[in-house]
Symmetry: C2
Subunit: 413 residues, 2 copies
Amino acid sequence: MPVGDINFPEMIPIAGVKLSAVSAGIKKTSASGESRLDLVLIELPATAKVAGVYTQNAYCAAPITLCREHAAYSSNSRYLIINSGNANACTGEQGIQVALATCKAVAIQAGVDCKLVLPFSTGVIGEPLPIDKIEKSIPELFEKLEESHWPLAAEGIMTTDTCPKGVSKSLVIDGSSDKLIINGIAKGSGMINPNMATMLAYVVTNACVDMQLLQEILIEAVNLSFNRITIDGDTSTNDSCLLVAAGKSDIVINDKRSAHYLVFKQAVFEMFKELAQKIVRDGEGATKFVTISVEEGINSPECLQVAYAIAHSPLVKTALFASDANWGRIVAAIGYAGVEGLCVDGIRVYLDDVLIVEKGGRAQSYSEDAGAAVMLKDEILLRVCLGRGEVHETIWTTDLTHEYITINAEYRT
Amino acid sequence: MPVGDINFPEMIPIAGVKLSAVSAGIKKTSASGESRLDLVLIELPATAKVAGVYTQNAYCAAPITLCREHAAYSSNSRYLIINSGNANACTGEQGIQVALATCKAVAIQAGVDCKLVLPFSTGVIGEPLPIDKIEKSIPELFEKLEESHWPLAAEGIMTTDTCPKGVSKSLVIDGSSDKLIINGIAKGSGMINPNMATMLAYVVTNACVDMQLLQEILIEAVNLSFNRITIDGDTSTNDSCLLVAAGKSDIVINDKRSAHYLVFKQAVFEMFKELAQKIVRDGEGATKFVTISVEEGINSPECLQVAYAIAHSPLVKTALFASDANWGRIVAAIGYAGVEGLCVDGIRVYLDDVLIVEKGGRAQSYSEDAGAAVMLKDEILLRVCLGRGEVHETIWTTDLTHEYITINAEYRT
């Protein structure tokens, strides 16, 4: 059960962007014997521009290698083909051949250059991806393409996610007859860590955006969203995040000084943050949604160092699970984060508005009851004020639960 | 249940070193209502020299602050006073006063300078340490001092440990009528991470060792033992490790060129390693004892980077718990360890002797059955050959289990 509301919203169609999903038989059938959606196709119009960021894992998956190649060849990709259930990672040269064959199958069916197809995979690492099942499903994928099939696509990219994740926004733009539309879908619930996660995210707008601006906005948006979440500290081999400007509208953003630039950027940032938070809310076994805000730091790296030390501490995470205001574990994590010259006397720690720690010890005003009341909530804000500067950083994480262990001890079985 | 054999050995008495432990009522009583040992005193002879290393956590506990002061004043400490059940950490100025009062109570009873007493605490963080209970127990502690009470002391320093941990060695030394004796006791089972752990260790020899050599040997020994283990990646506020040369024997080690120097150093290293491994074997909820050996690296930091990325990965740890040879998670951890210019084609990964991964993918010779057979064992060697140098590093860790969550979700309740 995700923490808080992550209902799938109504998605506004974007002109020229069609989606489909089928069951190719890559995923095992569900417990009740039903086949599950595991192959997704997204068709983009010829006007589309595609910006992407990919995993920094040295063992990057075969589709990522190919994606980078194809994206470097052209930013006008026409098709995204995504399978779930198998990551096609650590599959050596054979894996590259399978990813290439997948692109070719799509390209032949569509009559486009193979390099205009970007492949993505997510799921178990190290298993051969069954290319025959994919090839067999390509015709059906094309038949099912519809501008309204966002929910199907969001479902088709899921792995251990308990629910599909989407965001959709439309904004009136001065001087344009078209509304600005931005849609996004994402998947991921374990192996979630900055840079990035077992995470796939596809965000598409109807605007026409200059390619360089698009890439810049994407990098900044990822940095403030998917690179600010952590569930278990594991970074996957397959992370990918695309920002696509479909371009079939009269909204043109080709200059940082253009009136719409800031509006667009702000909307993209908000949607990325919302998508990233949905991933955390659906974190494997999560029962808490925890915002960690580290304030009054000298610089951003030291704020993040402290934030991630807390977010990655299994002791803090199990205390969160137990709704136990065991703040000693929080200060221990702050203390070992490795911030140079940290003076603990100046640090204040809050649970929501409750001051817990100051002057190197428990705050005089603190009562166990006040801490316990916050810990019982599903959504908790943990604030650390370092008292040595003016920089702040925020990240989002979950607790560590029996359910996490169960999910990950049984994932392959 | 610890993994493998960690039986408490017969401890050979060391002349002039007496120990005692009592129930001061700092720990809660056991489930069956029995009081538990929670206050330990170790008396050292006037000939003793004491070397120490302490936690690097910025929120270091009050006793650590005082230990550092007292150790700097004199290396001839006469008493070590250790309480379990309460860490006296994050207790502000009041905590310092309590630690000081503890030293004073011992000093008055013994008639020595207060600065010749070193205080240690381990347990819950942030609770006031009840000084009255300690003061009341001091006379009984002195009455019970015996050279044979090593097992009592080992039990008295335990927190979530399931069993006391000790090592004892004696060696015939050429030209000495006395045998070289080294005894060690340690505690710790969670919050275990390099630099160091919620770990207390006291290793005592009967040799007479030059103070500078003693400190050098201690630092090197800790680096190869307690700084090479990790259970949950948390570093405590209270870690301390002492190496004491009691000095009441005819074995003198005052020069690196002396005949006994290497023998002594080697014996100390082995005992530290054994104590450290016992801590891992009794890791909270552990069902596996895992040795991670990273070989063929360019330098030590990159080998450790890879080793700890694997050891800290909750996904690897849950796969170990499930006895699932999910090697994809291992290579993903190698890939995100952050080693610059890592070429995955040259990396080989072995489970015991079974080659799993080579040339960026599953080894041709690998079979699931062979991997599964290794994973079913209690003790597993995970070898990563980076194929780019000649340096290797070894660390020890455990799996991540439901029991770990249970222990840490319920610790304070």
